[in-house]
Amino acid sequence: MSEITLVSKEGTKIQISSQFSNLSGFIHNILQDYQQNEDISLASVSFINLQMILEYAVHHNFQVPQPPRCPITSPNIADNVSDPWDAEFVNRLNEDQIIDLVTATNFLDMKSLMDLCLAKIACMFKYKDIETLRKEYGITEEFTAEIEEKLKSDFPWAMEAESND
């Protein structure tokens, strides 16, 4: 078996090497009982996402690449991945696309690409204080002032100890 047929939620068919199962746990399980020429329906994956996923898979030659650094060390994703192509790939996605892609990779059990997307989102949070995060992401405060103060005073030395490093 060299090729399999994936069907996006819009019904578009895409042919791809069966080696894709190296990257996707979902496809790997499907192939256990797969009969040739059978279509594999991906009801939760749009055509656009599927194209991006395949682009990623082909670039990595259907092999699992090195995961992003964890925890990340910089707000720039390029500093946290070993392959610069990964950073370029994920940087060109907009906010809707990246959330969609996370959902699609979650459905496909495709850990490597999902990790890349998650690391990209984590980069958005890095080095930002609470107010900045709230402002940028339109979050209204939910904690009462007392609870927030308590949470802040829970670990004051944590911040100081680490910042001295």
């Binding site: 998650l118 984590a122 949070f125």
Partner: protein
């Protein structure tokens, strides 16, 4: 003060996630995996969804391990205790940073702290791999116990630190002695000795007084203990979460025993100075409390913080392994993890004298090893009652794992149970057999080498004043035995 994260954005990000509600909670938790401890503590305050996403114990376990331990961290469960452990770890670090800088500079304290933490996390193995793999005896701790002078050997690599501390202490010694409150020292020394178990390793009373002492040396000892206690607490948490506690415990103990030797050497000038000061002031008679011994303090912490919480799980796994060996192949005996566990627990149970008599069938079983000993013996009683076995094979298995005192006790129980069951008087008699064997003769010989005639009760009594309890117990036991034999004759 709450730290404001100083972030200067170099390049404007290409996009923002305008509404984090778009992200499912489970994925938000996965994103948090990529943040480090200070960032997690900051981000969790944003709102309740962020707070819940940041409270995964796996995150806190990972962060704790990355900062204070070395572990593969593969277990699938993590306790909620990891968050508080992180908190305690950071608190200990700040405690060190805030120690008085009258004698040590902040930089030296930092070096000492880093050295202490890195030693606990990954100490340099002292035994080569081959020697460790073949289950060598005595272990490092037993070796040190039986040769106390070895504890004061300073590794060449530590000389730079030890020497620096020693010089500082020497230069300031007069002032230091003058400033150190005598009462504080007495309190500390008393705390190291007040237990009845003062001669046994792992006395439960090595805690410093709750009162905050203003002597730097005492505070320093307390600071060392603080870090070690947190490490041990985390180690026990990891063991409880581990799927194979026997291997995990044996490995953790081996690593800790290497760390003990290094920490003992590292802080030797400190403990020696306190000891010297105390001896100068209070003399060196029989009533003088024992010297502060870092090795014993560290053993005690391990016993309380690691062994106690894990002991039930360890016992149950040892019994499982025994059953497996019995049911499958005796060859598995040579790979049994229980052997390493027994050695580790003996490290915590023997003292300077009893270490010599480890292989003796009359050794008084005490300390953590006794928990294993009696636990296994009780289980074996049930087993012998339900499934009469041929003891020769059983003996081979037990001898391969436990010390002779345990094997002897198991044999006595076997003879008693089977004898009564089959009304076999010979076995019942054997269960009461206390006859001397070669090991008993060896004890007598050693006692004589110490200049103690084994048949003179008065001398035994005098000998007991030296408070060498363990050794004395054995010799008194022998004496009682001789008296018993004499009266029968």
């Amino acid at each position: 003060m709450h730290r404001k994260l100083n972030y200067k954005r170099k390049n404007e990000m290409s996009f923002y996630i305008r509404n984090t509600n778009m992200i499912p909670q489970s994925i938000l938790s996965e994103i948090m995996v990529y943040l480090n401890l200070p960032e997690l503590l900051e981000v969790r305050i944003v709102n309740k969804r962020f707070y819940n996403a940041c409270k995964s114990p796996f995150l806190f376990r990972r962060e704790f391990i990355s900062m204070w331990m070395t572990s593969t961290d593969t277990s699938t469960q993590a306790s909620s205790n990891w968050q508080s452990l992180c908190l305690e770890g950071i608190r200990a670090k700040v405690y060190w940073q805030n120690l008085s800088d009258e004698i040590f500079t902040n930089q030296e304290l930092r070096i000492l702290y880093d050295e202490l933490v890195s030693t606990l996390a990954s100490p340099i193995p002292i035994f080569p791999v081959m020697r460790r793999d073949i289950f060598c005896m005595p272990t490092l701790i037993q070796d040190l116990l039986a040769n106390p002078d070895d504890q004061f050997i300073i590794d060449s690599e530590l000389e730079q630190y030890s020497e620096a501390i020693a010089i500082y202490l020497q230069e300031n010694s007069e002032e230091l002695f003058y400033q150190t409150h005598t009462n504080d020292l007495i309190a500390l020394r008393w705390n190291t000795r007040k237990s009845n178990e003062r001669d046994s390793i792992g006395s439960e009373s090595t805690q410093c007084s709750e009162d905050f002492n203003d002597s730097l040396l005492i505070v320093l000892i307390k600071a060392i203990k603080k870090v070690v206690k947190i490490y041990c607490k985390a180690a026990s948490q990891l063991l409880l979460e581990s799927s194979s506690i026997l291997t995990a415990y044996a490995n953790a103990w081996e690593s800790y025993s290497f760390a003990i030797k290094k920490i003992n050497s590292l802080f030797l000038p400190v403990t020696e100075l306190i000891n010297e000061f105390y001896e100068n002031n209070y003399g060196n008679n029989n009533n003088t409390p024992p010297r502060i011994n870092m090795m014993k303090i560290l053993l005690s912490i391990w016993r309380r913080r690691v062994f106690e919480p894990c002991k039930e799980k360890i016992l149950s796994q040892v019994i499982n392994e025994l059953n497996q060996i019995r049911e499958t192949s005796i060859e598995k005996l040579y790979w049994a993890e229980s052997r390493r566990i027994v050695e580790g627990l003996l490290d915590l149970s023997l003292n300077e004298l009893s270490v010599f008599f480890k292989q003796h069938s009359l050794l008084t079983v005490e300390g953590p090893y006794s928990y294993l000993h009696y636990g296994v013996i009780e289980k074996l009683k049930e087993f012998y009652n339900d499934f009469p076995v041929v003891f020769e094979k059983e003996q081979e298995i037990l001898s391969g794992i436990f010390i002779p005192a345990t094997v002897r006790e198991a044999r006595r129980n076997y003879c008693d149970i089977i004898g009564k069951k089959f009304k076999n008087q010979e076995l019942i008699t054997e269960s009461l057999n206390y006859e001397k064997n070669e090991d008993d003769l060896m004890i007598e010989w050693t006692a004589q080498n110490y200049g103690i005639p084994v048949d003179d009760f008065d001398i035994f009594k005098r000998f007991s004043q030296f408070k060498e309890n363990k050794f004395c117990d054995i010799v008194v036991q022998l004496h009682d035995y001789n008296m018993c034999i004499d009266s029968q004759a």
